[in-house]
Amino acid sequence: MTSLIVKAAGRALAPFILLSGVYVASFGFLSPGGGFQGGILLASGVILIMVTHGCKEVHRLAENIDWFETFGALTFLVVGLTGLLVGGYLFSNLLPDTPLMCIVLDIVIALKVFAGTVAVFVYFFGMGVEEC
């Protein structure tokens, strides 16, 4: 399907893209970045592998991608509600002077955006490439 060079380049680049995605997502409260940007970076790493190596390589991820997304959205809601229960108002900071809310919500958003973007790719473009 794709030439050997493309596969080798894809395999070589993907870990660095994923690593930078994890960094951008998790250090959103310190350095520029955040949940949304990190999630997109992670998704681009996985989509790079999907394009170069076909959907078969990541078929386990492709199958239950929508569960990741639902899990991400629900944990966002649960964090908000626990803030309501603990702190008295919705999305209140559970540990007041620590960036806990920023870290937790960043990771949840990153997971959600990552799963959503990969799902878009799987369900829209996956049909052209061989079945995921």
């Binding site: 955040g34 002077d97 369900y123």
Partner: protein, 93 residues
């Protein structure tokens, strides 16, 4: 004749957008007075513990808006998944 008019319309649209963009570039922010909400964000930044004020606002002060954003994204992607599943199972919808 119609061909000519279509180009004029697009040309007019492009010029209008160009004028708006150039006007936007000249806007200066010196005379914009700081509203009390910005003051509150700046003073209480250490309470959120986040150095990146944008993230502090996005995730701590206005997490409810971000929750709406996440839900909008979720619904959009759910629509894509539903369409994708319909197309793959029944061929063309």
């Amino acid at each position: 004749m119609i061909q000519l008019r279509k180009e004029f319309i697009t040309l007019a649209l492009v010029l209008m957008i160009a004028v708006l963009l150039l006007h936007g570039l000249q806007m200066t922010y010196e005379d914009k007075e700081i509203s009390e909400v910005d003051e509150y964000y700046k003073e209480h930044q250490e309470k959120t513990g986040a150095d990146n004020l944008v993230e502090a606002i996005l995730l701590d002060y206005r997490a409810y808006d971000t929750f709406g954003e996440v839900m909008v994204l979720y619904i959009a992607i759910a629509g894509v998944i539903i369409l994708g599943k319909i197309v793959t199972e029944e061929g063309e919808p």
